[in-house]
């Protein structure tokens, strides 16, 4: 029998455990539809704000030896525009990523999606390069509490909190988010980092400091998933450097119910999803796992 690679992230049920990470190509329904057909189990949108944001000037994305740096600056068309754009959606499993500074920002945005078919929300509490949102929210437990509480009251669909490594203990953010009723955790976002060009003696990104993604951060992300799943009883989505089925299994063994793929698109393009799904399926067959659930967190056995 073919193994079943569908998975559940709390109340979110998806056919395949590989999602598109937020901010990656996540700007149009047509692209979502294409990636869904290519094998992504769910599509997380770019993080949306109340109003459209242009983001930072270029350079906003560059390579480094073991990954990528970006300070896109959360450019996005704004929640109202985006909600309208995907309002015709019937089939694509979309998770809407939201970014804001106060509960009211989130309330406003959630209203926009009231009649739009989406799987859930992902709260970006972890963007490392824009002021007053992202990590600056995630690093403030009281604010996290208020935002999650409020979003949970407003939202009819599950709510995921996306955390990252900021200037406070991310496990504290997870704790507060869990206590405030969040349905799942995505870990992790990019890690604050920079690159300086030695010829011009300048930081390369226009914002100077950006976020590191890709293979470089995978061992850190796996550690975070392992720590969260060891300390909390909450579904986890692993994110950070996933580029192969082995990486995905590694996150699942550490405690993730699903994974998100971002930077790996550079090397593998849209075929990355089916490549990973097939690999997971073959692995499960070989190892006699019949469903994803049987693998989640088993690296924690003593």
């Amino acid at each position: 029998m073919k193994p079943n690679i569908s998975t559940e992230v709390g109340a979110i049920k998806i056919e395949r455990p590989t999602m598109l990470a937020s901010g990656i190509l996540g700007i149009s329904l047509e692209v979502f539809d294409r990636l869904y057909k290519e094998g992504a189990g769910a599509l997380v949108t770019k993080s949306l704000s109340k109003e459209p944001w242009e983001g930072y000037p270029n350079p906003t994305v560059v390579g480094v030896k073991a990954g990528y740096l970006n300070a896109v600056g959360l450019s996005n068309p704004g929640a109202p525009y985006f909600a309208k754009m995907i309002s015709s959606n019937k089939t694509v499993p979309i998770i809407v990523s939201l970014v804001g500074s106060i509960p009211e920002d989130f309330d406003f945005m959630i209203k926009q999606f009231e009649n739009v078919k989406i799987l859930g929300y992902e709260l970006n509490l972890s963007c490392p390069h824009v002021e007053k949102v992202g990590l600056e929210v995630g690093d403030d437990p009281e604010l996290v509490h208020k935002i999650v509480k409020s979003v949970k009251t407003q939202s009819k669909v599950p709510v995921i909190a996306k955390v990252g490594l900021g200037s406070s203990d991310y496990l504290e953010t997870v704790r507060v988010a869990c206590e405030s009723g969040v349905d799942a955790i995505t870990a992790i976002n990019t890690i604050r980092a920079m690159a300086i060009d030695v010829e011009t003696t300048r930081p390369i990104l226009s914002h100077k400091i950006g976020g590191l993604s890709g293979s470089a951060i995978k061992p850190i992300a796996v550690r975070c998933v392992y720590e969260i799943s060891s300390q909390f009883d909450i579904p986890i989505i692993g994110c950070g450097g996933v580029s192969s089925w082995e990486d995905s299994i590694e996150f699942i063994l550490a405690g993730a119910s699903a994974v998100q793929v971002g930077s790996a698109l550079v090397d593998k393009w849209v075929g990355v999803f089916s490549e990973i799904n097939d690999g997971i399926s073959k692995y499960m067959e070989k190892k006699n796992f019949s469903k994803i659930k049987d693998m989640i967190g088993i690296a924690k056995k003593p």
Partner: protein, 270 residues
């Protein structure tokens, strides 16, 4: 060690050529960019200023490449204003390229859209019969005419300039000149690069005659490598799936010729 295409390589401008009062070609040494395929582009970092996608222009000297830039807004004007000895960061090459076909070939270019077409000329066979249509508003905005003639000197060829105000060459729109040619010559393939409205018309015309046509698309570009999503063009990404698409596909893309996204990702009309 192989160079990582996603990390800027610093090059020094060695020569600046004034093409028109608003267009300049900046020449620099770079083995990798000197060898790109026609249609491929680089992300060009003007340190301290911005980074822009630029088609890679040929240089007739070995190991050298160039950018041909029109001064327009802030970033392109800064790029245009750079002097010999100043530095640029280049990453790439990115994107797909024109498919090299043979036979009776028509190229239709406007403005800096000529850049990939000029490179394409250098990839054609000596046996090809080549027509290049250069569209321009007015006489002093025309460039690359002489260079195109030189590249094609051993081919059966015609380089035809069309100005809107009739100050040089033929008068009218380049697409009108193209319709005229179509009534005389049966082309095997059409390549185009320039303003999208123009390319849209070129693709429609060629397709209506069942002639294979390819166009190179411009969209807002940030990463150039297919992750940021800013160049999204229907369900494809211009930087990664393109920039070159064939006419058959383009006519199914409802953005083609009509809309593109701004820096925030909002659709705007052309």
């Amino acid at each position: 060690m192989q160079r990582n295409p996603d990390i800027p390589t610093i090059v020094k401008i060695e020569k600046v050529i004034d093409e028109t009062p608003t267009v300049r070609t900046l020449v620099f040494s770079d083995e990798v960019l000197s060898n790109v395929l026609p249609g491929q582009f680089a992300m060009v970092w003007i340190p301290g200023i911005n980074e822009l996608p630029m088609s890679v222009m040929i240089s007739r000297e070995k190991g050298k490449a160039a950018f041909t830039v029109r001064k327009h807004g802030f970033a392109s004007t800064e790029l245009y204003s750079l002097k010999v000895g100043e530095q640029l960061g280049v990453r790439g090459p990115y994107g797909s390229s024109f498919t090299i076909k043979q036979g009776k070939i028509l190229l239709v270019g406007g403005g800096t859209g000529l850049v990939p077409l000029i490179r394409l000329l250098t990839f054609l066979k000596k046996t090809d019969d080549v027509t290049l249509l250069i569209g321009s508003k007015t006489k002093n905005e025309v460039f690359f005419e002489k260079m195109a003639n030189q590249i094609l000197e051993h081919n059966k060829h015609a380089v035809i300039v069309v100005t809107e105000d009739g100050s040089y060459g033929k008068t009218g729109l380049v697409t009108e000149a193209m319709e005229n040619l179509f009534s005389q010559i049966k082309f095997d393939v059409v390549y185009t690069c320039g303003p999208e409205k123009m390319m849209h018309k070129v693709v429609q015309l060629a397709s209506s005659k069942n002639i294979y046509v390819e166009a190179s698309i411009e969209r807002m570009m940030k990463c150039g490598m297919g992750i940021c999503g800013s160049c999204c063009f229907g369900e494809v990404l211009a930087c990664r799936d393109g920039t070159v698409f064939d006419g058959k596909y383009l006519l199914t893309n409802k953005e083609f010729g009509y809309t593109h996204r701004n820096k925030a990702g909002i659709l705007e009309n052309y």
